[in-house]
Amino acid sequence: MLTRLKEHSFLFSELVKRDFKKKYKRTYLGMLWSVLSPLLTLLVMRLVFTQFFGRTVEHYTTFLFCGNIVFSYFNEATNSGMSTLLSNSHIFTKVNVPKHLFLFSRNTSSLINFGLTFVVFLIFCIIDGVTFSAATFALIIPIICLVLFNLGVGLILSALFVFFRDVQYLWSVFTMLLMYVSAIFYSIDGYSPTVQMIFHLNPVFVYIRYFRIVVLEGRIPSLELNLLAVGYALLAMLVGALIYKKCNHKFLYYV
């Protein structure tokens, strides 16, 4: 596995370069857009929701940003990942290359965007008066889980998208609904314990909650939340990898 990875590292880096160049082709601000768009969403949410939720939630800007940064990374990675297999069909029907590389390279540019936004996020935290501690380093756990989760979901979506183009419309409706149940701009403290449990069925919410506990409460979350975060990531990767393995030679017929 490791030797295969090394063998394809050159192809991988070339694909990442290509995706970057194509993405920001003929844009004036280039990569800045990737940071600007979550910031603008943040600004609007801050303006609109402060009246409703801002009074009961401390550090409401940071609270919002935690939700926003996780969700927009998930949203961007899965939406752009969906089309990777189909848009590279002219390559894999002519040359024998590992097909998951296309998704991995596209996700790398999403990850870099996330990294940039994350730096802005840290700056906002300082401005908002949030104090960092040693526990802040625990953020690496939800980030790694989120990367894996997005890759897994991307694998599943890109495979499905080859077979059914409806997936893109279904997915855009689904992510919009998901946004409302991910508690991005409100706190779930007001709900009964049962409803709070149900919220944890949503992986995106779990990652947002992880972020908030680490940043706003300055502690490492419970073992249960850690297991959930890791579990969702591994599950998504497992399902995605199985689909790719099973359909590896079937994609060809559908493109």
């Binding site: 082709k25 390559i91 409806d166």
Partner: protein, 260 residues
């Protein structure tokens, strides 16, 4: 000891290979139609054998010409050899690094420059960055694309595109080179140059598979020949001249020869 055994093993073994292709309207339909048709048992997938019971072996330095009319299964067979498709039945075994050029000039990215495309293609063919850095100059020189390196690929003429594709695949010194309708590219001068290049690759010990509709080319370059017709193997052999004659006769009177 080990080496001598390896030398004797054929480079490519195609053993009773059959490939079933599926076609149908499943590509066009969405989820709703799919579910409806599944429920009403109206979902049909047509299958046909693109290749049926194909067998041959190639040794080091062999050059195989594959001939046959359109739809004979030539390209599908090449896809199986290059690992893009898996045979439904039978077995393909290749010993060595393959550079496959299927449907030339596709698989390039129009928005990227010539240089970027060259590196990307090199990476796809499995070469390292260091190797591409070393070879890049000679690839561009051979394709006669000096001065076009920073142009977007889509601005090139189709002849230039094919020249680039040929140069990359041939200059990277593969063990196995698969060429699908490649040598007919470019103008007369480039064609001569590419044929000379091919010959030197073969002399260097590479095993080559060539699909061509130019019988002159097959006659002058190949030492083995495989004739396919609608997925069936009509003939495989080393007497290139006789088989090409038979094929040309077949093209005229459309009657498959008996017992060839």
């Amino acid at each position: 000891m080990d080496n001598s055994i390896k030398e004797k093993n054929p480079i490519i073994t195609v053993d009773d290979v059959s490939i079933r292709y599926i076609v149908g309207d499943f590509r066009e339909i969405g989820i709703k139609e799919y579910i409806m048709r599944r429920l009403t048992r109206n979902y049909k997938v047509r299958e046909f054998w693109a290749d049926r019971h194909i067998s041959f072996t190639l040794d080091r330095g062999d050059m195989l010409g594959i001939i046959g009319t359109n739809g004979a299964g030539k390209s599908t067979l090449l896809k199986a050899i290059s690992g893009i498709m898996v045979p439904t039945e039978g077995r393909v075994e290749c010993n060595g690094r393959i550079a496959a050029l299927l449907e030339l000039a596709s698989g390039f990215d129009g928005d990227l420059t010539v240089k970027e495309n060259t590196y990307l293609r090199g990476a796809m063919l499995g070469y390292t960055k260091a190797f591409m850095n070393d070879t890049y100059r000679s690839i561009i020189e051979f394709a006669e694309l000096e001065g076009f390196e920073d142009r977007p690929f889509k601005q090139l003429s189709s002849g230039m595109k094919s020249r680039l594709a040929f140069s990359i695949a041939s200059l990277v010194n593969p063990d196995i080179l698969i060429l699908d309708e490649v040598l007919s590219v470019g103008d007369g001068a480039f064609r001569e140059k590419s044929e000379a290049k091919m010959k030197s690759i073969i002399r260097g010990g590479a095993t080559t598979i060539l699909v061509s509709h130019s019988m002159g080319q097959v006659r002058s370059m190949c030492n083995k020949i495989l004739w396919l017709d609608r997925g069936r193997q009509i003939a495989f052999g080393t007497d290139v001249g006789r088989l090409v004659d038979a094929y040309e006769k077949f093209l005229e009177d459309k009657v498959l020869p008996e017992g060839i």
